[in-house]
């Protein structure tokens, strides 16, 4: 456990945090507890209130009601010193177009009070880490969306923060980039940083997080360790494929795929149970086509966040009915 956790064991704690935009309640009495040293996934569909919560935590927005503590300190708008030990990557970050990547990190580094030696070692390291080596002297205005995303991650790690808050870091990245970001998050957590990462992709959170909070319409549905949450979300994900020419070879080919636990045939329906929540429709359809099958229909259940919400909400109602 990192040394500062002795002083505060919660990196983030909110109490009945509420934010209203006019009559719309974007965050509704949210009680969030992020343990020090954890990788905490903040999961919810579009418009759930993830970014709003995060903006309150980093002091960009004022809460309508309730309170929030970050690294043991009460959060207020415009509290410069509190941000010395926080790294934040905004959702779809935008940086001054006229600055070069390395220049941006340099000038931000100065704002953190980093001395020249610290900047000289840290900046090339981060540029390398986020895969922008060779492009650091290009203007940010000429960066692709994914590259802006990468420089956004780099600037969030600049000050070796105790707490890193990443708002949908993998949005806009290609599949390789998404995997890289996941590896990166795991790596920085090993360095002792607490990571709070929002996402709307269940499988992404499952792969990297130790804790998960699931939020919908501004309210936390569940907040616990990944293990506990996974158990609550019952059963494996299943896929049903309607195939013309469904042969034994096709079943075998699908079964041989690594994310597939079981594949069974019933009539022209192929029932596939998966060991992952990742979207593997492309992989499965390729295997079927290659082995001579013709796909006429395909559904994947238990995959989407919606399915999980429905399960969780149903569970709650069952719980309260008893």
């Amino acid at each position: 456990m990192p040394f500062w956790c002795v002083a505060v064991d919660l990196a983030i704690e909110t109490i009945d945090l509420t934010k209203q935009y006019g009559s719309l309640t974007a965050v509704n009495k949210l009680n969030l507890r992020v343990e020090c040293g954890s990788i905490h996934g903040f999961l919810g569909p579009n418009g759930a209130g993830k970014s709003t919560t995060i903006k309150i935590l980093v002091g960009l927005l004022k809460a309508t009601q309730g309170s929030a503590k970050v690294l043991g300190q009460e959060v207020h708008v415009d509290q410069a010193d509190a941000r010395l030990s926080i790294g934040y990557m905004p959702e779809l970050p935008r940086f001054p177009n006229h600055l070069k990547g390395a220049e941006l990190l340099d000038v931000y580094g100065r704002m953190y009070g980093m001395n020249p030696q610290e900047r000289q070692t840290q900046i090339p390291r981060l540029i390398d880490l986020v895969g922008l080596k060779g492009r650091e002297n290009d203007l940010i205005g000429k960066y692709s969306k994914g590259m802006q995303q990468r420089i956004g991650i780099a600037q969030a790690l600049l000050n070796n923060p105790q707490l890193v808050i990443l708002d949908e870091p993998s949005i806009g990245l290609d599949p390789v980039g998404m995997v890289e970001v996941r590896e990166l998050v795991k790596a920085i957590s090993k360095e002792g940083m607490t990571v709070f990462v929002s996402s709307h992709l269940l499988y992404e959170v499952e792969q990297i997080c130790s804790h998960v909070t699931i939020i919908n319409r501004g309210q936390a549905l569940v907040s616990d360790t990944l293990e506990t949450v996974s158990q609550m979300i019952s059963g494996p994900t299943v896929m049903q494929v309607e195939v013309v020419n469904l042969s034994g070879a096709t079943v075998a080919a699908v079964k041989a795929l690594s994310p597939v636990k079981e594949a069974t045939k019933s009539g022209n329906m192929l029932n596939v149970s998966l060991s992952t929540r990742e979207d593997v429709r492309a992989e499965v359809s390729q295997a079927i086509t290659k082995s001579g099958g013709i796909i006429v229909g395909m559904t994947q259940k238990g995959h989407s966040l919606e399915d999980v919400f429905i399960q969780l909400i149903n569970k709650r109602q069952e719980g309260s009915a008893q």
Binding site: D78, A80, R83, L84, P96, Y108, Y112, G113
Partner: protein, 312 residues
């Protein structure tokens, strides 16, 4: 990593750097620079073209001009607050360990530096050019007063641009507000100055101010058509002429400026003296007025910026 607490000054300076890099890389800035040099060049060459051979007072009666003031104010100030919001760059900036007051002051200081350096280059160019065109210059050591005066004059408009930008979060509105106000004051001031028996009112609004004549002998007459203006004795009291009036106050500390009413529909009638004022008073008052307006608008800008909620 165990860190020392970083100094306020270090972080402030980082904001200044951030803003300076932004400012000097704007294409608009290069455009304004070009304009200022064309203006200065015309200023150097045109009087000569109208038949003036020598003018030892050229430098100390030179000013970058009110159009330069508003242009540089707009170009340096228009994006610095509202543009951060429009581009979304304010989000990563305000989540760094810099307070909004620090960001505001840092940006202001960067604008000041950019304008100061630009004007210094412009004035150096004018001094060298005027020596080439008009021969040796008198009282060159006073030229910095003119420079300082022009910076102060510009800052009124910088503060207007910043205030309008911080309130509206919109650069276009900031530009239009500042430019609209500028035009309104130039037109309004001109009309009041010509028609009113009470041009003193113009001393208290930014712009040209009232126009009068300094009771000294000297200077150089520029005659265009049948109107003749003496470059040294013509005095405008407003915030646009702070530098020139400071120089005159140093050169002729005890001189008085007379203000006249001329019936513009009957130019042959003699001008009627309205009142007189010491040049020193005029110079100091215009500085006071400029500082007051600047302070008020900057306060408004800072206050609005401080209260921003970053929704986007």
């Amino acid at each position: 990593m165990n860190k020392e607490h970083p100094s306020w000054l270090g972080r402030f300076w980082a904001v200044v750097r951030y803003e300076m890099l932004w400012n000097i890389r704007k294409k608009m800035f290069l455009g304004a620079l070009l304009f200022a040099f064309v203006f200065a060049t015309l200023n150097l060459a045109l009087p000569g073209y109208f038949g003036l051979s020598e003018n030892p007072y050229f430098v100390i009666t030179f000013s970058a001009g009110n159009l330069t003031f508003i242009l540089f104010a707009i170009v340096t100030g228009m994006h610095s607050i509202s543009g951060e919001y429009e581009k979304g760059t304010v989000v990563p900036l305000l989540t760094k360990p810099v307070s909004r007051t620090m960001v505001f002051l840092g940006k202001l200081f960067a604008i000041f530096l950019v304008i100061l350096v630009t004007y210094t280059v412009l004035f150096t160019y004018t001094i060298i050019g005027s020596i080439i065109v008009y021969g040796p210059q008198n009282s060159l050591y006073l030229a910095p007063l003119s420079l300082i005066g022009d910076v102060i004059s510009t800052f009124i408009w910088v503060s207007v641009v910043l205030a309008a930008g911080a309130i509206s979060k919109n650069s276009l509105i900031a530009i239009l507000t500042a430019f609209g106000l500028f035009i309104a004051l130039v037109l309004g001031g001109g009309i009041i100055g010509q028609l009113s028996d009470n041009p003193q009112a113009l001393n208290y609004i930014p712009g040209t101010g009232a126009t009068g004549t300094l009771n000294i002998i000297g200077g150089e007459n520029i005659t265009i058509g049948n109107i003749s203006i003496n470059t040294l004795s013509a005095v405008a009291t407003g915030t646009d002429s702070i530098g020139n009036n400071l120089i005159k106050a140093v050169l002729y500390p005890n001189s008085e400026v007379g203000f006249y009413h001329q019936n513009i529909f009957n130019l042959t009638a003699p001008a009627r003296l309205l009142y007189t004022e010491p040049i020193g008073l005029i110079a100091l008052r215009s500085i006071g007025v400029a500082v007051l307006y600047t302070a008020v608008f900057l306060f408004v800008a800072w206050f609005a910026f401080k209260r921003w909620q970053i929704l986007e």
